[in-house]
């Protein structure tokens, strides 16, 4: 959490120091989040409406899938419960990342209007401040909706459940959330340079999640390769889900690749940390 370059020069060194800084960052994150939650609840009607709205907005995607299945029995060879499983895991993973870090896309506008400077002078890790800025509790709507669809699909998919397979489901969602969180962070770091390009990261976060809601068989192989090897979103749910559902992977990768989710998530965090540090180090105030 506390991977900000600005405080890299702090006197803390070694493993204990890192732990202290992470603790510090988390505490700051928690405090800022609590503040935004209180502020959100001041307009109670609006909060309820927006949370419901988020619930319904993400529900629309699923409604589209239901409407499609009112005309067909299988999409790309996948049945409705199977697509619902993909939908639930992808959307829940994105929902968690979106709740934790979703407001980071405002970083570009902070750089543009100069309010980024304010964050740098506070004795709190910059990453924690940016991540918690405008924390949007309403995003629980997406998580709730995804959880409902996921729960429904789990009762319907034809899987011979073993303890390992049961464990794979929450692991998928968690690793997926970490992968999406890393994408949010890289996107935010990119905005130190691009400033106005907030929408590019939407392609990879919201767009990525939409992509993962459909079976990989629907898409061109090159696209599937791209989201496996370049932006490894396929590890969020496609690969583990194919294993769980007993489907062949369209790329024909070796079987152990399906379990690489945690490794990929850790790697992505490393990349995100580097990107964030580089971005922050290259930050130049717009001045006035």
């Amino acid at each position: 959490m506390a991977e900000d370059g600005a405080r890299a020069g702090a006197a803390v060194r070694g493993f204990g120091g890192v732990a202290v800084r992470i603790g510090e960052g988390l505490r700051a994150y928690g405090l800022i989040v609590a503040m935004w939650v209180r502020s959100t609840l001041a307009y109670r009607t609006s909060f309820l409406l927006t949370a419901l709205g988020h619930f319904a907005a993400t529900g629309l995607d699923f409604l589209a899938i239901l409407l499609m299945f009112s005309h067909i029995t299988a999409l790309g060879g996948f049945t409705l419960p199977e697509v619902a499983f993909l939908y639930g895991t992808s959307s829940a993973a994105l929902g968690l990342a979106d709740l934790a870090l979703g407001s980071m896309d405002r970083l570009g506008s902070r750089v543009r209007d100069g309010t980024m400077d304010v964050l740098l002078v506070r004795p709190v890790p910059v990453f924690a401040q940016v991540a918690a800025d405008r924390f949007a509790l309403r995003r629980l709507g997406r998580i709730t909706q995804a959880a409902l669809v996921l729960g429904w699909s789990l009762t319907r998919v034809e899987v011979a459940w073993t303890p390992g397979k049961v464990l794979l489901v929450p692991l998928m969602v968690l690793c997926g959330a970490v992968i999406f969180a890393a994408v949010f962070t890289v996107g935010a770091a990119f905005q130190f340079v691009a400033q106005d390009a907030a929408e590019v990261q939407n392609s990879f976060t919201y767009g990525g999640s939409t992509l993962l809601q459909y079976p990989p068989t629907v898409f061109a192989k090159d696209l599937v390769r791209g989201v496996t090897f370049i932006v490894p979103l396929a590890f969020v749910n496609w690969l583990p889900a194919l294993r769980l559902l007993g489907r062949d992977d369209p790329l024909g990768l070796p079987g152990w690749v399906d379990f690489l989710g945690p490794v990929v998530a850790a790697l992505m965090c490393g990349v995100a940390g580097l990107a964030w540090r580089t971005g922050l180090r290259n930050y130049r105030s717009t001045g006035s």
Binding site: S46, F47, A56, M68, D196, G207, L211
Partner: protein, 265 residues
Amino acid sequence: MLYAAVAAGSFRRYATYRIATASGVFTNTVFGFIIAYTYTALWTARPHLGGYDLPQALTYAWTGQALLAATGLLTGGGMDELQERIRNGDIAVDLHRPADLQLWWLAADLGRAAFQLIGRGLLPMAVGTLAFPSALPASAVTWLLFLVSVALGVVVGFALRYLVALTSFWLLDGAGVSLVAMLLCMFCSGMVLPLNVFPGAFGEVVRLLPWSSMLQVPADVLLGVHDGTGAALALAFQAGWAAVLLAAGRLLQSVATRKVVVQGG
């Protein structure tokens, strides 16, 4: 000519943010690809669903991405700014100006839409046409009708968002209403799935609501679904909704402005 100047200024304002435009084009193209592949799977499983063949369905998908920014299907299309002015009281200054509030914002919205149609619409459409089978018309008349239909769609979209923005006079924080309005718009415009795929009576009703003017009707005009008189009827349908909704906006505006109390002195 005041309103023409407002529209031109708004056009230039949106044209200033080139990186934002480029990143928007990128995002629309990515989403276009995702949707086009899912439509391919759907229309392969059920050819002629909703009366479209596969190229028509794909052109529909890309038309949606091309019009997304222009008709403000997803974003507030600048209306969040009006909401913010109502919330923080700047609206009092606007009401003092020797210009009509609704016409001012309509002009600004038309300028914005004109830029976003060109800046954010053309490229995704071109990419989609090159990468997938397409059913774009060859006749110039169809294109002209399409442009008229898009313009009417923009006006209907504006009229709806203006009504939503005015609710801020009562609710102060308009975020909730805006979100609900956006949902209705996404679902009922045909952005989520073409409206002719919606089943039975439900589909019939949704196709008659104003939101269909924002995507379904322009796309059908482009795809040549309507013949001569059919196209005229489609445009009349849009114009009718535009008139009704603008009039409703006028009415709400007169009620709202009577409520404004300017504090301080």
